[in-house]
């Protein structure tokens, strides 16, 4: 990938994309810095993708290796599909941040270091015997080391802050420098600081002063050393209104839109868990859209209350991550048995058990499709990127209400936290799917709560409707009447009805993301692997390889044409951040010889890893067996957690 210039090429030829990583202590405000840099990048018209990577500990001991928090952004004048493999620029706010992230940096890349933090104490904490600034261990990179701490203190001096408070503005000083480096406007950041510190104008002014000082430093240092200004042109994009969006925001907005399209009030039952809580936080502020948020006593109560709300005629939604989803399993069975609409959002993280709370993985696929007692079929749908999550959330609401069924929406920690530019859709372009409620008896003077429509869905009957009193529950019910019925032929008939209803959920035919039907190799992905697969397939095709990319949104039921499509290729490679779960589903459903490419290090795939795996098919290796991506820390830092 042609990103920043190599060390021996002049820096004034602007690359078409750049990867920057900010790394520092958990308390250094790296996520905030990254977030604001992202905003300025978006406003500059570049395409971008981000990867926030932070420890599971809220305030890990200062200066330690496991307390490092990092934020990576890849931006450019061409389409950006991942947060980038290796950074071109690393901003290290302390020795630990440098140590943890150094291996990832591209040879010839630029390191910006705050020497003020390279004290004996901090070097010890980062387990450096000798300061890397004093030996030649950083020789293969450009190093720009200066005392950001002292410069910040100097810049905010007029505001009379103590040293400790003054140093809090260090991240804004650094941001100011970064804004200068990439020729960015400071005004939106100043506006944001003024709003954020509305009640503390002194703090706002101090931060703005630090920002300006960092920027000014860039101006004056321009003539010396490796620090040079780079202008990345805006990307060619579809015309329209844009904003940046994270997956958690997109899902929240999609659920609100979905409830509006179904013309239903929304009830959201949640329980705090990383990384799913962000959805609860977003929705809690959107009450004007007929949203009720309920922070339950546990995961089970969260889904049960959502089921209760759906029973009473609202759109029940619950959200969690792997361990919480496991707790909700029995209640999902109840929703399947009582055939009530429900959306369950799973923001997957590394597992099993508590696993890696802040790291990403796709290992809940089996759990989503199969993870309940009994034959408990449920539609499963997945988001491939932050922006895509909006549409997927609407689709989940549609399936749930049209088919009277719980639906699981799979996203992951990467999508939840990552941001990308998003073309703001016009809500009027979405087809409404208003929910219908039964208001009179439906079987010749009698009520049959389980009488099915053409889609196999039973009627939705709100308690409180005159004269439609009836009982539902988790016990097997008789066909049509819904009375308790344990008879053998009835259970067979009801099991079949539930399975068929879900198998017949209408899903669009599978499209090809890149390439064409038929050929030597297809790379089949689902969820957040979209970015690296897309880029790797594009790069490989540019080198003349006959490889295509298929990305599956509807995991269950699968698109009807998918089996035939897969059989049109000589080889099927399935990259996943698990040990090969979707591969197994594809083999089972279509009897295709799908080959796994797996990675379970808590980090997304890199483009290089993906390209290598594709390349093997074109290196004369006849029976490529895929394999497992080597565990490495070069993609992104593995900082505790």
């Amino acid at each position: 990938m042609a990103t920043a210039a190599e060390k021996d090429t002049p820096r004034d030829t602007a690359p078409d994309s750049v990867v920057v990583r900010f790394a520092g202590d958990s308390g250094d405000g790296m996520q905030l810095t990254g977030g604001q840099f992202t905003l300025s990048t978006a406003l500059a018209g570049n395409d971008l993708a981000t990867f926030p990577d932070f420890p599971a500990e809220i305030r890990a001991p200062q200066g330690t290796l496991f307390g490092v928090s990092a934020f990576q952004i890849n931006f450019g004048s061409r389409e950006i599909s991942t947060a980038g493999d290796a950074p071109d620029v690393l901003v290290a706010m302390n020795p630990a941040g440098l140590k943890v992230n150094l291996d990832a940096l591209k040879p010839g890349g630029l390191i910006i270091i705050d020497t003020g933090e390279f004290t004996k104490r901090n070097l010890d904490k980062a387990k450096y015997d000798v300061s890397p600034l004093e030996d030649d261990s950083l020789a293969k990179w450009d190093v720009l080391a200066f005392d950001i701490s002292a410069l910040t203190i100097e810049a905010v001096k007029p505001f009379g802050l103590g040293n400790k408070d003054a140093l809090r503005s260090k991240n804004m000083w650094t941001l100011g420098l970064a804004l200068w480096m990439f020729d960015r406007d400071r005004a939106p950041i100043e506006d944001w600081l003024k709003t954020k510190f509305k009640s503390k104008p002194d703090i706002a002014d101090a931060n703005i002063a630090a920002l300006n000082a960092g920027h000014a430093y860039g101006e004056t240092a321009e003539l010396s050393g490796p620090l040079q200004k780079l202008h990345i042109d805006p990307v060619e994009a579809e015309p329209g209104l844009y904003r940046t969006i994270t997956g958690a925001e997109a899902i929240s907005l999609g659920l609100v839109a979905g409830a509006q399209l179904a013309e239903l009030p929304m009830f959201f039952g949640g329980y705090p868990i990383t990384p799913a809580s962000a959805i609860l936080h977003h929705l809690a502020r959107l009450k004007e859209f007929g949203v009720t948020t309920f922070q339950a006593e546990d995961e089970i109560a969260a889904i049960c209350a959502a089921i209760g709300a759906s029973y009473a005629g609202q759109l029940g939604i619950t959200s969690s991550s792997g361990p919480g989803i496991a707790l909700k399993g029995e209640a999902m069975g109840l929703a399947i048995m009582t055939e009530l609409p429900l959306v369950i959002v799973n923001s997957q993280r590394g597992g099993p058990s508590t696993g890696l709370p802040t790291k990403t993985e796709q290992s809940d696929l089996y759990q989503a499709i199969y993870g309940r007692n009994g034959d408990a079929p449920m539609p499963v749908i997945s988001a491939r990127s932050p922006g895509d999550a909006f549409e997927v959330a609407i689709e989940a609401c549609r399936i749930a209400t049209e088919y009277m069924t719980p639906v699981m929406l799979l996203t992951d920690g990467y999508i939840a936290n990552a941001a990308e530019p998003w073309r703001v859709p016009d809500p009027d372009t979405f087809e409404p799917f208003p929910a219908k409620f039964l208001d009179k008896k439906n079987a010749g003077g009698e009520l049959h709560p389980y009488k099915r429509d053409a889609k196999g869905a039973r009627p939705w009957i709100k308690p409180g409707t005159p004269d439609l009193m009836h009982r539902i529950g988790g016990i097997e019910k008789a066909v049509d009447t819904g009375h308790i019925d344990y008879a053998p032929d009835n259970h067979q008939a009801m099991t079949d009805a539930r399975v068929n209803k879900v198998l017949n959920v209408e899903v669009p035919d599978q499209e090809i993301a890149a390439g064409e039907a038929g050929g030597k190799l297809v790379v089949v992905g689902w969820g957040s692997t979209y970015g690296p697969i897309r880029r790797a397939v594009d790069n490989s095709r540019a080198k003349g390889m006959d490889v295509s990319h298929i990305h599956v949104r509807h995991i269950w039921p699968l698109p009807k044409n998918l089996g035939e499509l897969l059989k049109s290729y000589d080889n099927v490679l399935v990259p996943e951040m698990n040990t090969g779960q979707f591969k197994t589903v594809l083999r089972d459903q279509f009897l295709v010889d799908a080959t796994p490419l797996t990675k379970t290090s808590g980090q997304p795939f890199s483009i290089v890893e993906m390209e290598e795996a594709i390349g093997k098919y074109f290196d004369g290796i006849d029976d490529n067996e895929g394999g497992q991506v080597d565990v490495n820390d070069t993609q992104l830092p593995s900082s505790g957690g």
Binding site: Y242, R243, A305, P427, M469
Partner: protein
């Protein structure tokens, strides 16, 4: 709450066409009849009434009520009912649970539905045993209860459902037993209470824990063993026909209750307490009275309403939405945005 419209119904209107499947002689039959007798007296509307239950013998209750009913999963009925009530606060909700369902697997949800004060009637049928799973000891079984899972007798300390409820923040705590003629009065008081109303109903499991409540529930000598509480009335017990002969008094030095000799004439001088159903401290003492030395306290033990959860949720929703426009297009375009203009390569259409 809407102004209640009185509906004209009879007991028959509340019966379903489903065959009742409890064991013959089960205390549940008496409770079912008591509820079906009570609802017409309340002027309740079957279309607006919803029975929600968990799992266990008691939780089959909704199938026999000609109302809306939801037989949910083990222990989770309070959570489901909370969602139903928040989605439709006008529904009249009755929760049916047991000692295993409500205090063991569902103890957590019970605590939270009570402390949140979601407006519903919660009937906990306490038979001190797991019935539907064939007779294992339960969290309310008395020490020494022999059961398939405790063949030489249980050894864990039982929970006191009313003490649990009060400790969880319940604002209504009542107690009755299956065949008591006073049960409908307790149910009516619970229904009149705005908020979570907890009613422990001792229920005779004639198969696995037969007559375990006979020591106070048996008709013979009941006056000496049952203290029926009435707000504003002295706590007298004994033979009612003889004008009672005993009362409950407070030992103010030790802050404990004691039994004193007293009659309808001299109870004041004897220091007998007058039942104040809003007195939380006395309610606790009455609930914890050791049976034997004391009678079993029954009736409305505590009733002191405070604002309900659904009211608070509605208020919070209104406050949070105040002055905000529900405009989806504006919501989607919120925050800092930028516009990409159409260029030659990208026509606007």
């Amino acid at each position: 709450m809407n102004a209640p419209v009185k509906f004209e119904t009879t007991l028959k209107d509340w019966e379903t066409d489903q065959e009742v499947r409890w064991c013959p002689g089960c205390g549940d039959y008496a409770i079912l009849k008591a509820v079906q007798r009570t609802l017409p007296q309340l002027g309740a509307d079957p279309s607006n009434t919803c029975f929600i239950s968990g799992i266990g013998c008691s939780s089959r209750f909704p199938y026999y009520m000609e109302t809306y009913g939801f037989h949910t999963i083990h222990g989770r009925a309070p959570a489901v009912a909370t969602g139903v009530k928040l989605a439709n606060p006008d529904l009249d909700i009755w929760l049916v649970t047991g000692d295993g369902d409500g205090l063991s697997i569902g103890g957590n949800h019970m605590m939270h539905v009570l402390r949140r004060n979601v407006n519903m009637q919660i009937m906990l049928f306490n038979n001190e045993i797991y019935g539907l799973t064939k007779g294992q000891s339960s969290p309310t079984s008395r020490e020494g209860t022999k059961s398939p899972s405790t063949p030489i007798g249980s050894f864990d300390h039982p929970a006191n459902p009313c003490a649990f409820a009060l400790g969880s923040g319940a604002r209504f705590v009542g107690r009755g037993f299956d065949v008591s003629k006073n049960l409908p009065d307790v149910l009516k008081a619970a229904h009149a209470h705005q908020g979570a109303a907890f009613i422990e109903i001792f229920q005779n499991c004639i198969v696995y824990n037969k007559d375990v409540f006979n020591d106070f529930a048996a008709p013979k000598g009941a006056g000496d063993r049952q203290l029926w509480l009435e707000h504003g009335k002295p706590m007298l017990f004994g033979d009612p026909k003889a004008g009672f002969d005993k009362g409950i008094s407070l030992d103010r030095d030790t802050l404990t209750l004691k039994v004193v000799e007293a009659t309808e004439e001299n109870w004041k001088d004897a220091g007998v307490l007058v039942h104040d159903q809003t007195d939380r401290t006395i309610a606790h003492l009455l609930i914890e009275m050791p049976f034997g030395a004391f009678p079993m306290a029954l009736g409305v033990l505590y009733d002191d309403p405070r604002p309900t959860f659904e009211t608070a949720v509605i208020e919070e929703r209104a406050k949070s939405a105040a002055g905000k426009e529900a405009n989806l297009a504006k919501l989607l375009a919120k925050g800092q945005t930028w516009t990409v203009e159409a260029s030659e390569g990208h026509p606007t259409d």
